[in-house]
């Protein structure tokens, strides 16, 4: 008996080790990817953010000068911040609102729901570069069909859209809202998941349509709203491709000259990520771009934490949520 116990004791660590190695082996693709492509670049940029690094010579220690420059000397930093806040403040609520509305409409048809669902989802599959170019064509103030239509409707001085600083961000917003398919599909799942009996109970109580939405539908979909809010805010902070494409197209330059023209017209589309790219690749300031990236990371992190903290007050998990 004693002998057996001793043997088990001896065997167990080996079995544990084997088990751990197996788990690690299965996890290794992710671990390698995470270490090589996420953790290492992040640590490297953290280091670079405290250096003067022009991409071509050795980074020179620069203390907190990059961060000082950002807040005290940089004329475009706050422009980029304002533009980014604008797109988040308008874009995220509108995206959520429209997604709910579209998803709600999609729950109504008795027949052909699959077809409508596919149609409404399809725009989100289009590549962002192609969509941006198509929108620039459609919204061209001189030759685009939208302004031709607006002129026929009696608007003699229709907006310049992507070509004017007053209308470029709203135009960008419309472009962004066109591809709400992926958010909409999550809301659709959320709406279809609301227990029928709750509506039936509400009907018996004589609840109005609004009351049913407010007290039955809304609480049930708050986890989805919360998810969309967090991912939308993070995406908003990183908004890049469409702004980059439309800026250089509006400015009429090739990609080799892109750094001089991103943000056109009049820096109205100079979003934070676009600005970061311009500083790093156009102006040989990778140290400063790294500092901008870390500032972005920290602000995004703070916003996400705030959202998570406030979520306890308004997000309702039917299963009780995380404890």
């Amino acid at each position: 008996m004693r002998f057996t116990v001793g043997a088990e004791r001896r065997r167990r660590p080996r079995r544990n080790l084997k088990r751990r190695l197996t788990i690690l082996a299965f996890m290794s693709p992710w671990i390698v990817g995470f270490l090589g492509f996420i953790l290492y670049p992040m640590l490297a940029t953290l280091y670079f953010s405290f250096t003067k690094y022009d991409l071509l010579s050795n980074p020179i220690p620069y203390g907190i000068q990059n961060y000082v420059y950002m807040f005290t000397k940089d004329p475009d930093f706050w422009i980029a911040v304002r533009n980014t806040v604008w797109i988040i403040v308008w874009g995220v609520p509108l995206q959520i609102g429209l997604s709910i509305l579209t998803a709600w409409m999609l729950t109504k048809p008795k027949r052909g729901m699959k077809v409508y669902r596919t149609i409404f989802f399809m725009p989100s599959l289009a590549p962002p570069v192609a969509v941006a170019l198509a929108f620039l064509f459609i919204f061209n103030p001189e030759t685009g069909p939208i302004n031709v239509l607006l002129s026929h409707l009696g608007w003699h001085d229709p907006p310049l859209w992507f070509y004017g600083r007053q209308w470029s961000k709203p135009a960008m917003l419309i472009l962004g809202l066109w591809g709400i398919g992926s958010t909409m599909i999550i809301f659709l799942a959320g709406l279809l998941d609301v227990p029928r009996q709750l509506y039936e109970a509400a009907d018996i109580e004589g609840a109005s349509g609004w009351q049913k939405f407010r007290y039955v539908t809304w609480p049930s979909i708050t986890p989805v709203v919360f998810f969309s809010l967090v991912t939308g805010v993070i995406y908003g902070f990183q908004f890049f491709t469409q702004a980059y494409v439309s800026s250089i197209t509006v400015a009429g330059v090739t990609t080799t000259q892109a750094a001089t023209s991103v943000g056109s017209p009049n820096r109205s589309l100079l979003f934070y990520s676009v600005y970061l790219w311009q500083q790093g690749w156009g102006n040989f300031r990778m140290g400063y771009a790294s500092a901008l990236a870390w500032m972005l990371f920290m602000v995004t992190m703070v916003c996400t934490i705030l959202l998570v903290k406030t979520s306890k007050r308004w997000v309702h998990y039917a299963g009780g949520g995380f404890r």
């Binding site: 640590l43 050795n58 040989f284």
Partner: protein, 442 residues
């Protein structure tokens, strides 16, 4: 886990600290008369499409001259990828770039090798190039690039539209340009612009701070290149001249017209379609016109200069393709043979000039009887040869200077900067550039 993280952090810092690095080694020389082992060298460049195919055809002559060297050319590669390759130690043997604004940085950091030792060792004759090319191929005494064709900018004008407006001569001064532009402009009944005489809008095709500042003689930097010169009164003159003509059209009206412009690199280009009567453009437009609208009745002249600078008429902005040897080039000696041959072989330069329609960069190729010269193209050869023609001074801040002044002109032309705020805006742009120069160690 904590130990692992700290180890990784240290590794990250070390790897970061080891990235890139300077150091100039003495170049290896190749004596072409000795027998050599066969070698294949690679050149990366920015050419694409038709121009790349034409470019790739030049190397058979090089291999005929140096039979042991085969050249592999890869196109569509911009400076960003070249920089990444230099950083990661995977640079090609030779490089070709359109990014003139990066020359300062390339020279300063040694990312493109200083060619001076190669030039001295092989007794390479630099007097075969016009003096102006050295300004955009070197920085602080380091000759880290050689020219391989260049661009020159002038004024294109539509002769039929001139005739219709009763104008007999193209403008030579900026005030004549404005007067002619007004005569040439045709408005639609609703007040919108049908044909614009001349569009002084920063960002309209090749009309920008660079091309406009050259005829105005606006300095970009002080004499030793250590401070921005955006506070020079010349920039105010340029901005006012630009705005006066914009106000003639009406800012919104012109903005709408500009938004409707055709693609620059297609037959939809406004000058080719007759939507604009005069336009600033490079010499390559002659090839586009020949290809797209061969019947277009047009002429070319140097850019008009302000009335008080009439004696400088004939000059313009120049600057084009550059070639060099990157740091870490596996075969620098052979790369030098290629680069020096490309920069000076008359037959090659003339072939490229005739096909890609850029200005050749040696005296011999400029005078070559094989160079196919139309009267319109001749203007650009003359602009290039003019001793006053130049590119803006090289700096190690990339194109941040163009961005800074471009932002001012663009905000000014839409009225975001007012007359009273113009000087302050120029001062702010100058301060921004000064900060960047200081940071870059100038």
């Amino acid at each position: 886990m904590k130990r692992l993280l700290s180890a990784l952090a240290v590794l990250g810092l070390l790897a970061g600290a080891c990235t890139a690095g300077g150091g100039n080694e003495a170049p290896a020389t190749v004596n072409p008369s000795e027998s050599h082992e066969p070698v294949t060298i690679t050149i990366w460049g920015a050419w694409t499409g038709r121009e790349l195919r034409q470019f790739n055809a030049i190397f058979k002559d090089f291999t005929a001259k140096y039979p042991w060297i085969t050249v592999k050319s890869e196109g569509g590669i911009g400076d960003q990828k070249i920089i990444q390759a230099i950083n990661s130690g995977t640079a090609p043997d030779a490089v070709l770039s359109f990014g003139l604004d990066n020359v300062g940085k390339f020279c300063q950091t040694g990312a493109w090798q200083d060619l001076t030792p190669y030039i001295q060792q092989s007794n390479f004759d630099t007097s075969q190039f016009p003096e102006s090319v050295f300004q955009y191929t070197s920085y602080q005494g380091k000759q880290c690039a050689l020219p391989f064709l260049t661009d020159a900018y002038g004024l294109y004008y539509n002769k039929d539209l001139f005739q219709r407006a009763g104008i007999t001569e193209p403008p030579k001064t900026t005030s004549e340009l404005v007067a002619d532009a007004k005569k040439l402009t045709v408005f639609n009944p609703d007040g919108s612009i049908k044909v614009a005489g001349f569009v002084p809008w920063a960002g309209y095709y090749e009309t920008n701070a660079l091309t406009m500042s050259t005829p105005f003689g606006c300095p970009w930097y002080n004499a030793d290149g250590t401070r921005s010169a955006f506070t020079d009164p010349c920039w105010v003159d340029l901005a006012r001249w630009q705005k006066d003509l914009i106000d003639y059209y009406g800012e919104q009206n012109l903005a709408r017209f500009v938004a409707g412009q055709g693609n620059e690199w297609s037959a939809e280009n406004d000058f080719e379609t007759g939507r604009v009567a005069m336009n600033i453009d490079g010499e390559w437009r002659t090839a586009f016109i020949e290809n797209d609208v061969p019947n277009l009745n047009y002429g070319t002249v140097p850019l008009p200069v302000p009335d008080d600078r009439a004696s400088t008429y004939g000059m313009g902005q120049i600057g084009g393709t550059i070639i060099g040897i990157p740091k870490g080039s596996p075969h620098p000696a052979e790369a030098w043979l290629l680069v020096s041959w490309m920069a000076t072989d008359t037959k090659t330069l003339v072939y490229m000039a005739n096909n890609v329609r850029n200005v050749p960069t040696t005296f011999a190729s400029l005078e070559s009887p094989d160079l196919e010269v139309t009267p319109q193209f001749q203007t650009f050869l003359d602009i290039f040869k003019n001793p006053g023609s130049h590119y803006k001074p090289a700096t190690p801040i990339g194109d941040a200077d163009q961005t800074a002044i471009g932002n001012v002109l663009e905000d000014w032309q839409v009225g975001k900067i007012t007359e009273s705020g113009l000087s302050a805006a120029l001062q702010k742009a100058a301060a921004e550039v000064d900060n960047l120069l200081q940071e870059a160690g100038v």
